[in-house]
Structures are given as structure tokens and as C-alpha cells.
Symmetry: C2
Subunit: 332 residues, 2 copies
């Protein structure tokens, strides 16, 4: 079977040279293990941060199979409670097959397309909901600003904000993407952070200031957003994609000054922390998908060998909606 390992840890921007495709024997399950076929791999900015050092998981080392969150089908089981044909989610790797202890996989509901388990009903949609509701304590009528608005999480943040009766303002890279965020996803406005007039345009798009800033990027965009925060505003810290793919991170120069003056709350979270509230999140998301208030946007590359390019491109912002790589078709 095929797998992709990290050939060398990047010291600057991630490139194809940091990965190597290998052909290895298929794994054999031991007692208590399940044998999995990978169907869909989630491609996330966080993957890049794993190459920088320990985060909420151990650092990835050169020579490791590149890890990934994935949707898999059980093809053989030596564990109770799991049988061939079951669909599970797991921390897998960039590989066609793997064996894991049954306790390390999570049985998934039987829904199609399986891609929805990674997008709206998966990491992306749940991260958006938990960040806005659980961390940001969003209230109807407030203004929500979100960066990486055309990305997997950001697109749901704005759509959820609108569904909850809030004003949704996005930030994205390039005029075309911004137009798409407004026209396709229904945001009230979307501003291009590469535009020289960005800060001024953003202020104009938020006439009542910003109550919740959902930050996916950190850096200069966070710095700009902080100036627009209302008193007692909340900064939901979800990611810092601007800081992952280089050597010299830059901190927002108005931190912590504005946090004090405006009594802001900045709070970081990881979607898994809020698993107890997943049923609430899924109830809302299902309702809003069904009634058309949330559009599911997915960006799926085909084939294991496309994974490096999919991640490298994601870091450059070339995706729209949740990016994933498909290795096998959905079982019927």
C-alpha cells in the first residue's frame, strides 16, 4: 500500500520536498485492533502547526507518516463492537490502510455523503458552532467578524452568525474570494486583507463595531480587528494560520494594551474540548442545513498523492470551504 511520510521538517514555507511517497506492506491487525481503509482525509491548517513542535498533540518528526484526521471504513476487526463495513473517524495518517486499537477510533453515524462528517457535521461545522456559541457567547443582533472567511471553518462561522440573527462580516484574500463569500455564503460583507485600504474598509463594514471576532489567522489581521472591538468584546482564538508557515512570527502590537482598555476576553479552544455539547451543535447545524440557511461547501482533491499539494495550497489560501482528500469512494 502507499503512504506519505514527512521527509524533512520545514524551516520555512512548506513545499513538496518535505514529503515522500512510499510503498510499504499492508498492515495486519493485532488482537483488539481494527484494520481500516482510509476514505477521506481532512486537510487542515493545524497540520502545518504540528510540524512546528508540540501543540495539543506531540510534534511530528521527520520519517513519521504524516498524521491526519480521517474518515475510514473498517475492513477487518479483531475487536468487539466494530465490524467490517462500519464507518469510523480516527487520527490516521496519509496512507491507504492502517490498524488501530479499537479504543482509538470513533464510530460515526450512517449518513451520506461521508464528506459531511468532515465538513458541516465534522470538525469544520462543530468548530464554528462551539467557537461562536460556547466560547464567544454570541447574542442575536451582535456583529461577528471572521477571518479566513472562505475557509472551512470561517464559511460556517458567518453562516451560523446569520442564522442566529447577527451581522456577519468576513475577511479573505483577494476580491474574487470576497465576492464569493458574500454572494454564495450570504455574508453581509467581506473585505480583502491584501487591499491597501483594508483597515478603513473593515471599519466601514462594521458601523456598530465588532462584538465577536473569530480569529483563524493571528498576526496583522488580528491586530487590525482588535481596534474595532467593542467594549467587552470576545476574541475567539481558533487558529493562527498566518503564523504557521514561516520562521519569524509577528505579534499584534496592540496586545495586551487593547485587551485591558476594552476589557476584551481572548480565549483559545480546540473543538474536542467541547464534545459534551456536540449534540446541541449538531441539532442546530442539521436544522440549518435542512432549511437552506447553511450551504455546505466542500473542496475535495482525489488521490493520496494529491495530499501534499492540498495542504501546501491550503496554507496559501487556495481552498474554498472544507478541504479534504478522497482515497476511496463512499461505500454504498
Amino acid at each position: 500500500m502507499k503512504q506519505i511520510v514527512v521527509a524533512a521538517l520545514p524551516r520555512g514555507p512548506l513545499g513538496a520536498e518535505h514529503f515522500r511517497l512510499e510503498e510499504v506492506p499492508a498492515p495486519v491487525p493485532g488482537p483488539g485492533q481494527v484494520h481500516l481503509r482510509v476514505i477521506l482525509m481532512s486537510i487542515d491548517a493545524a497540520n502545518r502547526s504540528w510540524l512546528q513542535g508540540a501543540t495539543y498533540r506531540a510534534a511530528v518528526q521527520a520519517g513519521d507518516v504524516m498524521p491526519t484526521y480521517a474518515i475510514c471504513e473498517v475492513i477487518d476487526s479483531r475487536a468487539d463492537g466494530l465490524a467490517p463495513g462500519d464507518i469510523v473517524a480516527a487520527e490516521a495518517g496519509w496512507c491507504e490502510e492502517l490498524c488501530l486499537p479499537a479504543g482509538d477510533v470513533q464510530k460515526m453515524p450512517d449518513l451520506r455523503p461521508l464528506s459531511h462528517l468532515l465538513s458541516v457535521y465534522g470538525i469544520a461545522g462543530k468548530t464554528a458552532w462551539h467557537g461562536l456559541v460556547g466560547v464567544g457567547r454570541l447574542v442575536a443582533g451582535e456583529t461577528v467578524l471572521v477571518s479566513a472567511a472562505a475557509g472551512s471553518v470561517g464559511g460556517y462561522v458567518g453562516q451560523i452568525a446569520r442564522a442566529m440573527g447577527c451581522r456577519a462580516v468576513g475577511i479573505a484574500g483577494g476580491p474574487e474570494k470576497c465576492r464569493w463569500v458574500v454572494e454564495e455564503l450570504g455574508f453581509d460583507a467581506c473585505l480583502d486583507y491584501r487591499d491597501p485600504g483594508f483597515a478603513k474598509a473593515l471599519r466601514a463594514a462594521c458601523p456598530d463595531g465588532v462584538d465577536v471576532y473569530f480569529d483563524n489567522v493571528g498576526g496583522r489581521v488580528l491586530e487590525t480587528a482588535l481596534f474595532l472591538m467593542n467594549l467587552r468584546g470576545r476574541v475567539v482564538c481558533c487558529g493562527a494560520i498566518s503564523q504557521y508557515d514561516g520562521e519569524a512570527p509577528s505579534g499584534p502590537r496592540n496586545l495586551p494594551g487593547l485587551v485591558v482598555v476594552k476589557r476584551l476576553r481572548m480565549e483559545g479552544f480546540i473543538v474536542m474540548d467541547h464534545a459534551a455539547d456536540d449534540p446541541k451543535a449538531l441539532r442546530d447545524l442539521t436544522r440549518w442545513v435542512d432549511d437552506g440557511r447553511i450551504k455546505v461547501v466542500e473542496d475535495i482533491a482525489e488521490g493520496l498523492d494529491q495530499a501534499p499539494a492540498a495542504l501546501i495550497g491550503l496554507l496559501a489560501g487556495d481552498n474554498r470551504g472544507k478541504r479534504m482528500v478522497r482515497l476511496a469512494p463512499d461505500p454504498a
Copy 2:
């Protein structure tokens, strides 16, 4: 009477040249006003930030009397409910006398020395208590780290932490000050941020990591502290003295990355926001002063003309405990 005005707004470090002493006629109270004699002026790092622009109050302009929080005696009253001899707190100015609407002053309890109304029972002590308890949600057994530990607020933060059964680690400038923080204020440890081995020494002093970092300084010290935070730690954002007195602020380069990874909460506050809980704060502080667990340290300069030097020196870190300027003795 004498007053000190802001001669010019500083564009770099604050100096004596930014102030001018003036002799002006004594003010005369109008209807509904009280005529006040200033007894003690509070000298705070925040005073410097007021010269940078609008904060939680309007910006100070060149030509304005330098504002200050002060303890005053009523010497004449044209308002109901206030009589000569009453002690009040107010936003006054660097001046010997002033007249204010009665609604703009707060009657103070009758205790001596009056300086305690600015130190342990005033802004300094209450800021420390509200920050640790209200914002930081401190729990017995945790580790508290505080910067500007020899300063007005920082000294109380560590002492309150100890009184609540926590480990208290301070950060201050210079070995002598650090020694004083440990020996006089009873901190478990205090590290010198100017020491080249600072980051390593700080880590060694916090073997169980940091649960609450009470940040008075921002900048590089905040950046260093963030690396030591425990999962779900709280950063209590009280001030950013390192950023007030220069032209080029620098942001912590690990923000917001570490906030996400460690699920930190950074939250800003101003002591006045928590006035509803002042009775609880004062009950604890009184008890701990009375039983000797809190030492009251005050740093009092004499005479209005000493105010500029007192503020300039504070920004350079030459104070120990709550700095104030006395203009008149406590009334009997």
C-alpha cells in the same frame, strides 16, 4: 494656588519637559459643587497611557491640568450631603485645590492613614483582588505569576495569592528588588527580567507551570510567561507598562498561537468594572491586613512639584509599593 499642566504630549519617553508648574487663582465653587483640597494624589502607570490617546477615559491634551485619582478634603460645599471636613475620592488634577460637582466625588470611609485608601483599600489592593478572584478565578493550590511584583498592584497580587493558599512567583527589575519581594512581601520566588537567564530561571521557579499570570507589563515578559502557562490557564490583563513609554510597541510573538494550543483565557479589566464586589474585596483585605498576612507598602513623595519625577520614576520602575504624592497632611 499651584497646578501642573501638560506642557507638551510626549512622543518618546516621558520627561520633566512635558510638564509646567503654574500659579493660578484658587477656584470658587458653583451651585451643587464642592471645593476640595487635594491631600494625596495617586501616581499610576495608567497616567502615562492617558497621554497616548483615548483609553477608558478621554485622552489628555497639551495644556490640560494633568489628571489624577486623588483623596481630598471638602473645604467648602454648595451641595447637599457633603460638608467641610468630609474625605472624598475623585478624579482631580495635579493641583492644590479644585471644585467639582458633588456627583463626581465619592465619599470615603473615615479611616487613617488616608494613604490606605489609595493603597491596600484603594485602587492597588482592589485591583489585585478583583483581578485574581473575579477575572483569574484563582483556586487554592494553583501557581500565580505576577509581573511588576514590587509595584503597587503586583505586591498585593502575590500576598493575596499566598493568603489564598497559592504559590506566588514575582517578576521584577533587578536583583535587589527581587530579593525585597521575597523577603519583605513573602513571595515564594521573584525573578529579574533583566537577567540573561531569566526565562530559564522563571521556568525553574514554576515547577508546576503557571495557572494565573497577572500581567502588568505586556511585551517580552508576557511572551515569556505565555510559554509557562498550563492548559486552561488565565492571563489577567491589568496593564502593559512596557508599552506605554515609547514609540514602537512590540507584540508577543507567540500570540495568539499559544492561546489556542493551551486554551488560554486572556481577559482585560479595569478595577471600576468590579465595584459591585468591592465589599467582598475589602472584607478579605481588611482581614489579611489585620492578621498580618498582607503588608502595606507605600511609597509617598512630598509636595506637588514632585509629581512629574514621581511618575517618570514609576515608569522606570523606581517605586516599591503604591506610589503617591502628598500635598497636605491627613486631617486629624
